[in-house]
């Protein structure tokens, strides 16, 4: 059984009389341990797809099953708990809380899962260790470079040992060198068995993942399976790294 099962999912916005199909009848499975990317130009619906996968939004039609739970039927409280324990987010603009230091930012998800302070501290430090940020634990986000901030954000996404990590344009705000470092961090995490979904408009970045989904106008227009790797695209991937 796949970790995530999307069945005929549509998301329809209404603007006056006009109907906008942000997602149009999308069916998708994500298996445990997969490293995949969702690619598409802006406005293609990839963000909407990620929001639905990430339990931040609910579909208009269709069903989403995440780790055995039907998302479209879950209450707001259940969704919050799922986001807290099963999902981790990494954003383009890092989204660290500016008034908290790095350690406190990483502790944030555990506060909402009511983990005692001592345990929280230990796990946050371990997560920072895994992204090589333990020496910056007491720094404020504003005292860090973009790459360091993104590492802290990844530590925050990791800290509750989620089933899936979603990364929305994680390199979009970084120079190419730091971007590569972050991407290789994701690859390392993937090799440790984490399920990672990368959302990007840049096919070069998408090339690092074995599985790629291209989305346009709310529909999956192309899918690349790791079982059938095309040599050309593999070459591109290694070039990107």
């Amino acid at each position: 059984m796949a970790l995530v099962e999307l069945r005929n999912v549509s998301k329809i916005y209404r603007l006056g009389d006009e109907e906008i199909r942000a997602l149009d009848d999308v069916t998708l499975d994500i298996a445990e341990g997969e490293f995949m990317s969702i690619v598409g130009p802006s406005g293609s619906g990839k963000s909407t797809l990620m929001h639905i996968l990430g339990c931040l939004d609910s579909p208009t039609k269709g069903t989403v099953k995440l780790d055995g739970v039907m998302i479209q039927d879950a209450s707001a409280r259940q969704l919050a708990a799922i986001r807290n324990r099963k999902l981790g987010f990494v954003f383009q603009f890092f989204n660290l809380l500016p008034r908290l230091n790095v350690l406190q930012n990483v502790e944030l998800p555990m506060i909402y899962s009511r983990i005692p302070a001592r345990e929280r501290h230990k796990r946050a430090l371990a997560a920072l260790e895994s992204v090589e940020m333990a020496n910056r634990a007491k720094h404020r986000p504003s005292q860090l470079s973009g790459g360091q901030q993104q590492r802290a954000a990844i530590a925050r996404a990791l800290v509750n040992s989620p089933r899936i990590i979603f990364a929305d344009e994680p390199t979009g705000n970084l120079d190419s060198q730091t971007g590569h470092a972050i991407l290789s961090l994701f690859r390392d995490l993937s090799q440790q068995g984490r399920t990672i979904v990368l959302v990007t408009h840049d096919s070069k970045i998408a090339a690092v993942t074995p599985r790629r989904i291209e989305i346009r106008d709310g529909k999956i227009v192309d899918e690349l399976r790791p079982t059938a790797p095309s040599p050309a695209k593999q070459g591109l991937a290694s070039a990107a790294l």
């Binding site: 931040l56 707001a76 919050a80 954003f91 989204n95 008034r99 944030l108 909402y112």
Partner: protein
């Protein structure tokens, strides 16, 4: 953790938080100060009420004969000693009797003259009924009354005027045994009442006395006269009381024989001849129980209607009206003060709500982040509510501190007869209202913040 986050947020905007608290501080401190002022007034009023004999006292005074009985005016007997005897026998609800003949008298002694406010011929029981306390010498007794001796008991005001007050002379003069001429007739002073004053005046006087011992504090003295002396008029008048035996006033001044019923000339003119009884200027009675006041009044009325042959030439004065007036006044003061305090608390609440709304609109992104890492709606709701509550509670605590200072300031800037009293009850009430203000003011912003859509919140800049 919630607590830490809350105080973190408040400390991050110190100036803004203090400004917001100011509304609550003002509300709480005005609430406490107002109730302290009212409590002071209430205490002063209660002291005064006790000083004039309490609620159980009923006065029977002569009054104009009603229009429909005018033709009987020749028959009207007035309030006389006969009434007292009748009441003693037939009105069991009345426990104490004090007939009074009020004299208009000039006192002269020691080369000075003085007209006290109240010179009355009374029975020895008057002392008890009017809450007089003999400080020096003795009250005259039944024998003095029987023999119509020329003795009197004076209040401190008479002593002050004729011999000098302790403040001026520097020592207390006790003129017991001295002779004083009342309307030219020599009387021996056999006793003096204690000096009556409100509790606050007593404190002020003792303080002044202790300060006077330090020579360095000596300045130019200023005599403000008795009129300027602080303290309730009740106490001022009470100190001007002089009591003579009732019989003495009747025999020596032939009081009742010439006394007309009080007020306008066209009332009853019967002299003692009509019944052979001395007329009284008034009759003071004490009833057994204040709860039986109306029954007692009915009893007195029934007896007096008989002795007065059905002519209603008397009326009752009770302290109830006065007590009611005090109650109404206190109630109004409390209401208006409460209204002011309530309005300023409301303003404080609006201030908190305003700042919380501003705060959440600049923290939309933070709320989005918190939601994305798994904060439930209730977590965000509680966070905002806790912040608003913390501001209000801090403001409330500061307000309690400020109120104590405010009360001291008020009483030193404008000293009143009744020093404000800070009680625990209003303090607790004020604090609890600040808590309620915090919750109510935080409710709407908290709901608004909790309902934010995380996707839009994350996109927000």
């Amino acid at each position: 953790m919630l607590l830490a986050a809350t105080f973190n947020q408040i400390l991050a905007h110190k100036f803004r938080s203090v400004l917001t608290m100011l509304g609550v501080i003002l509300g709480v401190s005005s609430l406490v100060a107002m109730s302290a002022l009212v409590a002071g007034m209430e205490k002063g009023a209660r002291e005064a009420l006790i000083a004039i004999g309490g609620l159980e006292k009923v006065r029977v005074v002569p009054q104009d004969i009603p229009v429909e009985q005018r033709h009987l005016s020749d028959e009207a007997v007035g309030v006389t000693l006969n009434d007292v005897r009748a009441l003693q026998q037939s009105a069991p609800l009345v426990t104490q009797f004090s007939p009074e003949m009020r004299l208009s008298a000039t006192f002269s002694a020691n080369g000075k003259t003085y007209r006290p406010w109240n010179v009355s011929g009374v029975w020895p029981a008057a002392c008890l009924l009017n809450e007089h306390v003999i400080a020096h010498g003795r009250m005259f007794n039944e024998l003095d009354d029987e023999m119509a001796r020329n003795v009197c008991v004076i209040g401190t005001a008479t002593r002050d005027e004729l011999w000098g007050s302790p403040e001026k002379v520097g020592r207390e003069i006790i003129p017991v045994g001295e002779t004083v001429f009342i309307n030219g007739m020599p009387f021996t002073i056999i006793g003096m009442f204690e000096h009556y004053e409100s509790e606050q005046d007593r404190k002020a006087r003792l303080l002044a006395a202790s300060e006077a011992k330090h020579p360095s504090r000596k300045g130019i003295g200023r005599d403000r006269g008795w009129r300027a002396s602080r303290g309730g008029y009740v106490f001022t008048f009470k100190n001007q009381t002089v009591y003579l035996p009732l019989n003495t006033v009747w025999m020596k001044f032939r009081y009742g024989a010439t006394q007309l019923a009080i007020s306008s000339g066209k009332t009853s003119r019967t002299i003692e001849g009509a019944t052979g009884d001395p007329r009284l200027s008034r009759l003071e009675l004490k009833i057994a129980n204040v709860n039986l006041l109306s029954e007692a009044l009915q009893q007195i009325r029934n007896v007096l209607m008989t002795t007065h042959k059905g002519i209603e030439d008397f009326t009752f004065l009770t302290q109830e009206d006065w007590a009611d007036q005090i109650k109404v006044f206190i109630h109004n003061a409390r209401l208006s003060g409460g209204l002011i305090a309530g309005v300023s608390l409301l303003v404080g609440a609006i201030g908190i709500m305003n700042i919380m709304l501003a705060s959440i609109s600049e923290r939309v992104r933070e709320i989005g982040i918190r939601k994305s890492v798994g904060a439930a709606t209730s977590d965000i709701f509680l966070q905002i509510l806790a912040e608003s509550l913390a501001i209000a509670v801090l403001g409330g605590l500061a307000g309690l501190g400020v109120s104590v200072g405010l009360v001291h300031l008020l009483s030193s800037v404008s000293p009143t007869d009744n020093a404000p009293i800070i009680r625990v009850g209003p303090l607790i009430f004020a604090f609890v209202s600040s808590v309620i203000v915090g919750i109510l003011a935080g409710l709407f912003p908290a709901i608004k913040a909790a309902r934010l859509n995380p996707i839009q919140a994350l996109r927000y800049d």
